[in-house]
Amino acid sequence: MEFKDYYKTLGVPREASADEIKKAFRRLARKYHPDISKEPNAESRMKEVNEAYTVLSDAEKRAAYDQLGRGYRPGQDFQPPPDWDSGFEYSTHGFSPGETADFSDFFAELFGRMGGMHPHDRGAGFRTRGEDHRAKVLLDLEDAFNGATRQISLRVPRQDSQGHVHIETRTLNVKIPRGVREGQIIRLAGQGSPGHGSAAAGDLLLDVHFKPHPRFRVDGRDLHLTLRVAPWEAALGAVVAVDLPQGRLKVRIPEGAQSGRQLRVRGRGIPGEPPGDLLLDILVVLPSAESPHARVLYETMARELAFDPRHETQGSSHG
């Protein structure tokens, strides 16, 4: 296990005051806030910052950490001596046991016992429901059509007979139902922390997110796709094939379709009750005029079609 330098994580000297530590934490909490941060690895950096602040903002934890960490360098191999923490009494500072379970093994080893990772030790007869856990699940758009299976690894605090808490990894195989959407939450009842006494276990809540798709844009259950069509398909009308995650679909382009026009195919979006729609944004794409034959065709159209594309807008412009 590597030693973690929490002072370095927060960017403060070892003699920093409580106020300086709080200010440093807030500056970093703003910098790595998941809703606005553009920093790479913002989420994992925020976890490190939260972990460091949990220790350094608590006078008892900080004193114990300072005493134990004297002489260690960041990354150096580290094993705490047995019962090193006797004489210290820790409290939690705003982070729930489920949240501190996300912290490092270093934190679990040092502060797992009495450190707020098992707040249910409140005497015989005490009953409280286990805490809910959260995890993110990242899906492909195709998974919304076909359903999916995912293996999810969770870090779970477990207490041994001496009262020490160790982090264990628990792996679950989960079926993702067909028709899920961005932002939905999938609940796995009873897969959170165990309850205390005879109370029920908490739930595992999976936050559903989708990877960006190179072709489709998703809005709820509706699918948006830019459909590129040739000028003659747009002008004359045509039936064109569109590849969708669930197979190929033939779509009729109406005669006289223009770029920017939207075609709606009902019920061909993400499945559900009701299913979403497929929305095709027409984009007319011109063939290149590089070949002599194509040039002749364009020149013929220019000569023989009385077409002024600016006709409708010329009245309001001076150009």
């Binding site: 809703d35 989960v174 939905q184 796995l188 809005d219």
Partner: protein, 104 residues
């Protein structure tokens, strides 16, 4: 591996959630949530026959508010205001995505 080895989850979508479920989902004390509710910080929550019910979007709102209060000592009203602004940002980002504009 057969189907029995897989856990099948339920989508928390159209179901209404109770105050206790929202509090558990954001690892907060129900009392904390009840106070914020009393202060009008959850405008979408409804009281039906004296029982509060929430939509699933309240989970994210509660998580954000709790985080701002904890990390920045924000007053509940300020945390609710920031949550309002982030929800507005989410909505605008979704409009950009629909329009095919990459806003990551």
């Amino acid at each position: 591996m057969d189907d029995n080895d897989f856990l099948i989850g339920s989508v928390m979508e159209d179901a209404w959630l109770t105050l206790e479920q929202i509090a558990a989902a954001c690892t907060a004390d129900p009392e904390w949530l009840a106070q914020r509710l009393g202060e009008g910080c959850f405008p979408d929550a409804e009281s039906v026959a004296g029982v509060w019910r929430f939509s699933t979007s309240s989970i994210l709102r509660a998580r954000r508010m709790r985080q701002f209060e904890r990390d920045f000592d924000a007053a509940p009203e300020l945390a609710a205001l920031i949550a309002d602004l982030l929800e507005e940002t989410d909505s605008l980002r979704a409009r950009l995505r629909r329009a095919g504009v990459d806003n990551t």
